[in-house]
Amino acid sequence: MKQIKVLGSGCRNCEITAKVIEQAAKEAGIEIELIKVTDMAEILGHGVMSTPGVVVDGELVHAGGIPGPEQVRAWVRTGS
């Protein structure tokens, strides 16, 4: 199963980002494991200073804002 992490300290934009990804996965009919990461050490460990950031299967794909709908659809679909 594809694993998507949303990196963020729990601000509004991070919540929205998580919701957008959940929605996209549901629409595509793909099951994903969505994890909200709030631990600073892990967020910075991914090299992210501007939250929210998004990590798909261990790879950082986005940082610094709410991602666009096309981007999100691409993450959900590509790969495994």
Binding site: M40, L44, G45, G47, V48, M49, T51, L60, A63, G68
Partner: protein, 317 residues
């Protein structure tokens, strides 16, 4: 154009008397809301097209390892042109510390960032004219520079939470942004949505407060109490600004109304800076990385700096 729109709505559609408090308040509200939102959308869109917005990750790479004065200059300049959400200030702080950037320089960045940004600067020019915009930016840069230096003199390292020093930062490797015009347009539209979506309520509240001030506060009262003769008005404005928080853009219409009624320029600038840069929510967020003494010091240094700026401008005026 915007004035005509304000006139149309307040006096023609609603039939309010231009001389009445309600009439002038509504006219001000409509005019400023329209003007600020048009400017906001235009500026953010153009910035988005140019991709001039630097990410904090890149700022960190820029600033690390430079001599102190260079690092501080860059931190202030980049803080001024990089908008970042205050919820990012903790990872940003840790990222800077981890890169070995001096704390004083980090504080300079944290002061400059909420206070000055290119969007607020353009709206300042549009609403208050380029002279006041230049004064505001100049005063903000000076405060950020000296405020960071002052913080450094107190050796704030001792108040940084222990875990901050343990964190090791990974390398960010995000693909470079697409270069085609269509992609830039999409990005710019996204930026407009994101930023306007975040700050529209500050703008509405700011314009609302400005409109009430413009319509209902008598000019005679302002002349008597806030014209700048009384030295206590500046520190009072700074103190008033601490519990109040607004985005830098939202406070501009309040300043417009204040200046229009004859509030002294230094007092107005002090309030603007205090509202934009000194906020309790941000302090509480920073509490995750630094302890209370450093936070109190941070607030104190800024309050003193804004007061000095206010007095300085009132003296010059």
């Amino acid at each position: 154009m915007f004035e005509a729109l304000g006139d149309l709505v307040a006096f023609s559609l609603l039939g309010l008397d231009p001389a009445s408090p309600a009439g002038s308040a509504v006219q001000f509200f409509v005019m400023d809301v329209a003007k600020i939102f048009v400017l906001l959308v235009a500026v953010i869109y153009v910035m988005g097209l140019l991709r001039a917005l630097l990410s904090p990750e890149r700022v960190r790479e820029f600033v690390r390892g430079r001599p102190d004065w260079q690092a501080r200059g860059l931190a202030v300049a980049l803080g001024a042109v990089t908008p970042f959400c205050s919820c990012s200030s903790v990872p940003l702080f840790i990222g800077f510390v981890e890169a070995g950037i001096p704390l004083g320089v980090t504080f300079s960045f944290l002061i400059a960032s909420p206070m000055i940004n290119e969007v607020a600067a353009v709206i300042l020019v549009g609403i208050l004219g380029w002279k006041l915009a230049a004064l505001y930016v100049l005063a903000g840069v000076t405060v950020a520079w000296l405020g960071g230096l002052a913080m450094q003199a107190f050796h704030p390292e001792r108040w940084v939470e222990g875990y901050v020093w343990q964190i090791r930062m990974g390398n960010a490797a995000i693909a470079a942004p697409e270069k085609t015009l269509a992609a830039r347009h999409r990005y710019a539209v996204g930026e407009v949505r994101e930023i306007v979506g975040r700050i529209w309520k500050w703008v509405l509240i700011g314009v609302g407060v400005g409109a009430l001030f413009h319509g209902f506060v008598p000019a005679a009262w302002v002349t008597e109490h806030l014209a700048g003769d009384d030295w206590t008005t500046v520190p009072a404005a700074v103190l008033l600004g601490i519990p109040l928080y607004s985005n830098a853009t939202g406070i501009i219409p309040v300043a417009e109304a204040m200046l229009g009624k004859g509030v002294a320029i230094g007092t107005t600038l002090a309030l603007m800076m205090s509202v934009a840069a000194l906020s309790l929510p941000e302090m509480l967020i920073l509490r995750k990385v630094i302890r209370w003494p450093a936070l109190a010091l941070f607030a104190g240094v800024l309050a003193v700096a804004f007061t000095l700026v206010g007095w300085g401008f009132n003296l010059m005026a």
